[in-house]
């Protein structure tokens, strides 16, 4: 059953979809940015707490597909404790992983995020995985109140 999809829908993804981590509103956040994918209607709000250039806490709210929910859930876990520069570097790695430049990926740095590498084979779903990171990018650059993948 759905054998072809095992690379895309790994158990970790189902797990994060069922029980998203850091899934709550952060009342005292320093940054709050909305991400929207008009193609599929995925919407999320990302909250960050900063200490200087360090991300001390991250959470989110919203609704999306399993890929986008797992992606943002995993992201909020991994960026906690990272500096802005480190988070941006992860975004770069993640982007390369999901758009197909396998050689360029630093597997160690990317850690658990590697479960999302499968979207590479599904061009229609890449945006689901990257929405979280584009939203984070906007939050770190503090540039917009809301971003869209279009």
């Amino acid at each position: 059953m759905f054998d072809d999809l095992r690379d895309l829908y790994q158990e970790v993804i189902f797990d994060h979809n069922r029980n998203p981590r850091n899934f709550h509103v952060m009342e005292d956040s320093d940054r709050k940015v909305e991400g929207f994918n008009p193609l599929c209607g995925d919407r999320l709000t990302l909250f960050l707490k900063m200490d200087g250039d360090k991300i001390t806490d991250a959470s989110f709210q919203g609704s999306g597909c399993a890929i986008s929910t797992a992606s943002v859930s995993l992201m909020t876990e991994i960026v906690k404790g990272k500096t802005e520069a480190e988070a941006e570097e992860l975004f770069k790695q993640f982007h390369e992983m999901t758009t197909g430049k396998e050689e360029a990926i630093n597997l160690e740095a990317i850690g658990k995020l590697a479960v999302l590498a499968g979207v590479r084979e599904y061009p229609a779903r890449v945006k689901c995985a990257t929405l979280a990171w584009h939203t984070l990018d906007a939050a770190l650059k503090n540039e917009q109140e809301s971003i869209s993948t279009e």
Binding site: F2, C65, A66, T69, C128
Partner: protein, 407 residues
Amino acid sequence: MTTFPIEKIRADFPILQEKIRNKPLVYLDNAASCQKPQQVIDSIVHCYSHEYANVHRGVHTLSVKVTDRYEGAREKVKDFINAHSTKEIIFVRGATEAINLIAQTFAKSNIKAGDEILITAMEHHSNIVPWQMLCAETGAVLKVAPINLQGELIYPEFEKLISDKTKLVSVVHMSNALGTINPVEKIIAAAKVKNIPVLLDGAQAIPHMSVDVQALDCDFYVFSGHKLYAPSGIGVLYGKQALLEAMPPYQGGGDMIRKVTFEETEYNTLPYKFEAGTPNIADVIGLGAAIDYLNEIGMDNIAAYEAELLTYATEKAKQIKGLKLIGEAQEKGAILSFVLDKIHPHDIGTMLDSLGIAIRAGHHCAMPVMDFFEVPATARASFAMYNTKEEIDVLIKGIEDLIEIFG
């Protein structure tokens, strides 16, 4: 009903033999665009191989031949929707272009600040945005008649919104997001009382039922070829002759003129007044071939067969725990829009695709409908005359399996 020639029909559509991800294709995205029978494909190949030249322009044999074919297709469209005259059949790119044409010619010259255009809450974006653009330009106001939780137009509310200010009623004949078939006879009758012209967006209705524009007495009817087993890039605007005569042209150029000097231009007669430039010749001929094909089967037979498919699919779908149908109108075409508890439509789409099943997951160019039902998107299986109950079984099994795997 004599038995529906499903085997023969399926054999006519070469793409139905394709394998998708090593599984037989189950194509259930017909509301987005449907597949083409060999007869349509052959008509285009034949045109380019044997009978191609520009139309209306040459004395040479090929140009005369292709013009005959092109105008022959117009005749077929006229008969297919029972228009009064071929002068009332304008070839355009599709339903979207037809609606924009009406907005920019008929509506622009008849609608002023404070006037109202009345649509419904289940319109496709292509029957919303052109009016918003017109309203922004002219100061007219867009009125939207509400729908209920079954996805039906709340007719009394619609009637209340008709007023002396209403200058155009533009409604979808059959909704692409919900499958709802609107009570267009009632709508037209109510509009006639106040002499308000009515535009019907027939993009979804046309492949599923026989349409008679004279019996309906609508003023405009628009549809796209690609949802009618014909090529993409070709569509039809039907308009009552008197209205079309009075309308200013849409685009200027060749074919739409009778006489040009630098001082003035005399426009061509109908339908050419609205067909500036070299048209989409081969695809018009393909549209004619699609209509021949459909006539052979009979639109009423198609409607009856599809009604059976829809009933079967609806009953099966309702037995799935956690599945909610979006759109349960009494009068409904062969579309099954649904959501699953805790499973996003995009995941449904990808999962079913891995089984060879093509459905649509998204907002179906009807974001206001999604907002009304408070869903970000739906999954939509939409049926055509070549689909079967066996394919519906594959779909239902696929949905049950993906629910299980999502846990």
